[in-house]
Symmetry: D2
């Protein structure tokens, strides 16, 4: 048996390749899907089936792409009007090698959500693994707020039934294979450990301690999760079948002058360097999204209808940046800046800097009651767990629409947990004409490490 958990960083998306003898299946493939075809080739296996756990909202599914590459058949659940693939019913079984996969309808995250239980016929009839999609994670359960607040109680009730009446009864010894790990926007409290079992979750997963249905529903309804605007786009793509890629795009290299011309024609610039490097020197009007943050934040900020230009710290980052963007459906990458920011400033083109402030200086200024707008751009949940006294909260993803709450004439000091999201915020503010913006170096982490207090 060949079992591979393929993790797409940033999205924290987990997909699975399972092979037995010379047949294999893939669960929830990502869009840049050569990885599965290569595994199959290396192992001497043919990919027979592709299973989707649900119509994903946070990334583009690679089923059609992988089908094109391998000829495998696609299956997904009933309930939404998929324009490709085959529908599944509860209980349908699939054989490959000496393995058997059985479909279970497990609604709650979405109505058409499926789980898949895997049996190893060589060792017994009991399932050995279960692929739960966004129903059950390690340490968390799938969000039930995607259809809006009115539908949430119904979805939470469905999820309760799916987990307690279908998934957990498979047995404590069953290995849990969810669709996301820590860091995903699809769950707020997923554990950092990707390896678990139903038995472990039954006793350790906080949500599963709510064994009474009403308690569970209440617990779910109290969750406060952000809803990035690109979700709508993903849902649409994953229903229709997204455009085929064939291969990773090869973005053009632009010289500084060419880059500038593209900008003037309306292209949007995203700079994937770290805050300290972006702060040192950057192109005016560019968004700062550090490379690792692109999967989570590009979908809040970048448009689908304008060309995207990229500034990189190292040209080796290009492939990663391109993968991250196309996984979110950004097929509109125009190109990247040849030679990076250094090439730009060596052409004497206009460069912006950035002010950093240390937590020590910030503390000092707060004590002296210096004038400032102190902006906390973390998630609601983080804010609720403790923030700096005097701060104002606007979540980074919602900042651009709430600029009226930030006075333009004052000094604005932004923080998050690390200075990375606050770098995004600072770049948004500067794009909108704020000229006196500071990013707090180390942000809340440094603040706490310095021993300074927070309020709730």
């Amino acid at each position: 048996m060949k079992f591979e958990r393929i993790k797409s960083e940033g999205l924290a998306h987990l997909s699975y390749f399972i092979g037995s003898e010379d047949e294999a299946i893939v669960i929830d493939p990502r869009r840049d899907c050569q990885v599965y075809a290569e595994l199959a080739r290396r192992e001497g296996m043919n990919i027979k089936y592709i299973f989707e756990t649900h119509r994903n909202e946070d990334y583009i599914i690679g089923s059609l792409e992988l089908k094109k590459l391998t000829g495998a058949e696609i299956y997904h659940g009933h309930g939404v009007n998929f324009k490709y693939g085959n529908y599944l019913n509860e209980g349908k079984e699939f054989d490959f090698g000496s393995m058997k996969l059985m479909a279970l309808h497990t609604p709650g995250h979405t109505d058409e959500s499926m789980s898949y239980a895997l049996t190893d016929l060589d060792t017994g009839k009991e399932p050995v693994m279960v692929f739960t999609g966004d129903a059950l994670f390690v340490g968390d359960t799938g969000r039930t707020d995607l259809y809006g607040p009115e539908e949430a109680p119904r979805l939470a009730a469905n999820l309760y039934d799916s987990i307690f009446n279908k998934i957990l009864p498979l047995g404590d010894g069953v290995i849990l294979c969810p669709a996301h790990g820590a860091g995903s926007v699809c769950g707020g409290a997923i554990a950092k450990r990707d390896y678990s079992t139903l038995g472990l979750e039954r006793i350790q997963n906080p949500a599963l301690q709510k064994t009474k249905k009403e308690e569970f529903i209440k617990f779910k309804l109290e969750e406060q999760l952000e809803f990035p605007p690109y979700f709508m786009k993903m849902e649409q793509y994953n229903l229709q079948g997204p455009p085929l890629l064939q291969d990773l795009p090869v973005p053009k290299l632009f010289s500084p002058e060419e880059f500038r011309v593209e900008m003037e024609k309306g292209a949007v610039v995203v700079d994937t360097r770290m805050p300290h490097s972006f702060g040192g020197a950057h192109i005016r009007n560019s968004y700062s999204i550090w490379l690792g943050g692109v999967p989570s934040f590009a979908g809040w900020l970048l448009p689908y209808n304008k060309p995207i230009l990229v500034v990189l710290e190292e040209k080796e980052h290009l492939e990663t940046a391109a993968r991250y963007l196309i996984r979110l459906g950004y097929d509109n990458i125009a190109g990247f800046l040849k030679g990076g920011i250094a090439a730009w400033y060596m052409k004497a083109l206009p460069v912006d800097g950035f002010n950093f402030i240390s937590v020590h200086d910030l503390k000092n200024e707060l004590e002296k009651h210096e004038e400032m707008t102190l902006l906390d751009v973390r998630k609601k949940k983080e804010w609720a767990e403790g923030h700096i006294q005097g701060a104002k909260h606007i979540y980074i993803g919602e900042l651009e629409e709430n600029l009226d709450q930030v006075p333009k004439d004052s000094r604005v000091i932004v923080y998050c947990d690390s200075s990375r999201r606050s770098s995004i915020a600072a770049s948004i503010l500067k794009k909108h004409g704020y000229n006196n913006v500071y990013n707090v170096l180390g942000s809340m982490t440094a603040w706490k490490n310095a021993g300074y207090g927070t309020v709730k």
Copy 2:
């Protein structure tokens, strides 16, 4: 959390790298241990501890080698007189990152065998994984015959206690991490699936269905496992601490003439090509052990006190062959044949061929009662499950000492399950002057696929 299962092919040895935050541990490292150091470097972690589950008998442990590379501390169980590392007591705990590892004394396979239970402090107090060494495998349990038949009942009783009273009580949801997968000489029935849990083993593992102690002991005592002679060497090395390697050896390239000179001076030749290629043309007096079989069969045949020469199908196989040999302590690799067998025969040097016989022809000849010695060289267990009528059984590992049972003047036809072990047998026979030797192409697998019957 970073978790990596490192599988050493052939030996089917499983070692583990577990990291949390910036600290990591390694369990049962192999001798060519750069793999762990590279993982640590890539993840930005320092390896803090090395744990051995027991004094291994089937490969050389890499603890000392890895300690030299990283400075990590070595731990192992009480009961044998280790010349390096630190002793452990039951219940001793180790912290790294947000993980905790606890030592459990689980004798049975050997007296000093330890298991290690891992707790993820981020999610709860119950253990999430257990590293069982050779106590409990997926689908099998550790052999209890290593101290000889007199000690076996005691060891089997100990193993029963270790499994039923210490390991299984950790909980059904605990992930099982054993020291071997299918194909290891340390277990006869290990499952092909490397992923399991205590709950799955409790209900699917054949040995664990013997829940009464006496039944379990009886079950263990009935096992018939081969005992390769190199085990003694491994035990000695793993007690004393094996010689340090520093890096993989770079074996010399010998021209055909130089190779011949080395042979004449007493070097032993092992040819790692597949049977069909070895059969086509090979150097007289060489052992045929296909590359993938080197970890299992070199230890039966190759000496530690004479230089070893290697013939490869592809020069790219050199590194694999060298790794396989040094994992068994064969530091006496002299070199390999430059240009392979083709270089040899292009020098007009003497070459032997090999006779193959198809299962159809064999069936035909058996029906006609043609004269032959039909030799089955599989394991006792395979023989017992069904063999060709009229065959004689000598296990491949014991053939060289039992040649008196094989008449030299008759035609000898050898089979195994696939033709690979029978190729070893044929090469042994030819080395000892048998001139009329045939290898059955496809052997028992082909025999059965052709629909021919077997007897028990």
Copy 3:
């Protein structure tokens, strides 16, 4: 300046990537052209131009493929009716970075052949390199027989002019960059060294010692070079523009049974293992062409209108085999045998063996005047330089059409220089019903190494 010589093994085809500052050109790209795009990406360069030296006859040019990938413009010489790209005139110049490339019309190998002289404007006005296509090689000159014997004198005269009046006058210090290295079917005597200059060729190249035009023409007309039938196909493709690939094909994996079905439906099998392995066991009716020989011999034997099936020694060879075949336009690869020949014989499917004979036994039999047809399948040139007394000569590429010259009822013993081409020959003979075929192990090389004599 970035300069890369990309050698396609087997074809011994040399293509070139030359970059300066952020612009690059490619000369004579191969069909699997990702290599150039990756170089460009790694170096941060845009490929601006693609130059063809002539309409190649021995492989499929990758210009269109690379243009699709990069948008670069294609240029080639006048004189044949290309259906793509732009025509060039003598003297046309192209700038990229601080380099300049100038086109020179150098007919002789073909009428439209071009050479390209490269100047480094940073260091001076004199050319520093010249890309001569098939006009001038290291140690050899391009063949002039492609238009048939009537046109050969004219082409040889043209080549003389091109070399002596256009190329050599560029200067002794100019670095020579030809389109082929040793082993190409486009030249019979190309040196093993790929690095040379016009000055070195002027004094060391045998053809260039014929400084008088008539002598040179006479020398060229005496060349005896083989003309593989696939040349016609290549010329047609390279005129029209070959079909676009997008990426390497992913051939299907066939189980032995599926493979057999494909064979029965008319697919042609090519087995890329070495002679000793093929000889040990192979599928009846398969062609034996060792992997490294595929670029040179597939074009003699394999059809373009039937599916091709491949048997490999190692599954890692698949990519190489696929590349070799698609470079010759074999887009009809159906798939390969999963598990190789061992999977086949483990299914008890019919297998053929092969007889080898050592040079010592051959000598012996010849001395005893044993009955046999001794067949030499080497090139005319090799045969002329010395062969075994009593042998008959038929070039391997022409054997299939000349089987009437080989008596079917006698024993046939085949040799070449190494046993690889004779393995092809033996496989052809067996396909055509010859049952008593021997391949001479080590062939002429072993014969000479054994000290046995030859005749001319």
Copy 4:
């Protein structure tokens, strides 16, 4: 024939692997010499000889290291008192495969300098390549100032004889293989093209246009080249034989707190990020040397007797940084900062920023006669070719000893050609208590691109 030019970036050091049949030689190996052993293994060759062109002064030679790995013999010229290897005489010949290498004594750069002429016996008796060490480069000749101004005329005269009477007479068609490419500290005007011939140099190399001996000597004596202090260390090492490495060191990972402790105990910090990133945030008292500049500038600034700590932009840069440092003999790398600068500031540890000034603002301020010290830290040659009016010149390598020339109380604005060397300068000034330091973004390149004038 196998020919590989191995370029060590930064040092722009060229070493060569030349193989023929199954024997190979290496010329001027670098210290991290696994690259040659791997080439040999891949090609199936044994390295027979190692040749040094001279006692190098700019990097540590890897001859002893490679000898240990492969057993090859080392050769170098007479004249200095080498503690290892064998001496060579003019005219000594070495055979390997079908190649011949002949030693030529070519003093001038140093007294014991050797060149090596390579003949391909397969194609003729004339040499085809020449390995000239630091005697003759593409576009330049070796420096003759290493023994001090008194010896320079004698060395220049020797070099004239070596080039004009020994090297050039080998023939215009001979391929030139020097020991350095553009960017080396061993030559001021080496061409960006690494590929040349004696014929091309004869007509294009500026120094070789001085065909009269006196002119040539005069030309050489006018050269102004910097002399980094680490040269002395290299000469000593390369005479004695440097300490053996075995393998690349694995530097320790330090947490920010551990890193700080090491600093307090006296370790020196080098930060290999780009100026814009270093400028954004860095650790007080660290040297800024961008990664690509380490080979050229570490030797000016870093001590051999204190531990070295490294800050990296990406942890993937570690290997490159380690290679660069050990090539200069910095075996005193203590470790690097885990998590980079972000980990540092998230611990609320003290961070310094940096002021950048654009060329436009600089121009403006100069026109307004604002008070400042404008410091040009480029080479004497660059300064002489044009600088900003009002600037003061101190070469970056000599800044630390000439701080008395820079007033501490004024604002200091530093420029080079790109902002990278000025970032080094700025970091030196800050280490020495200058608090008002600016780096000119884009420096002279931006200045010129902006159309601003220079003076000589």
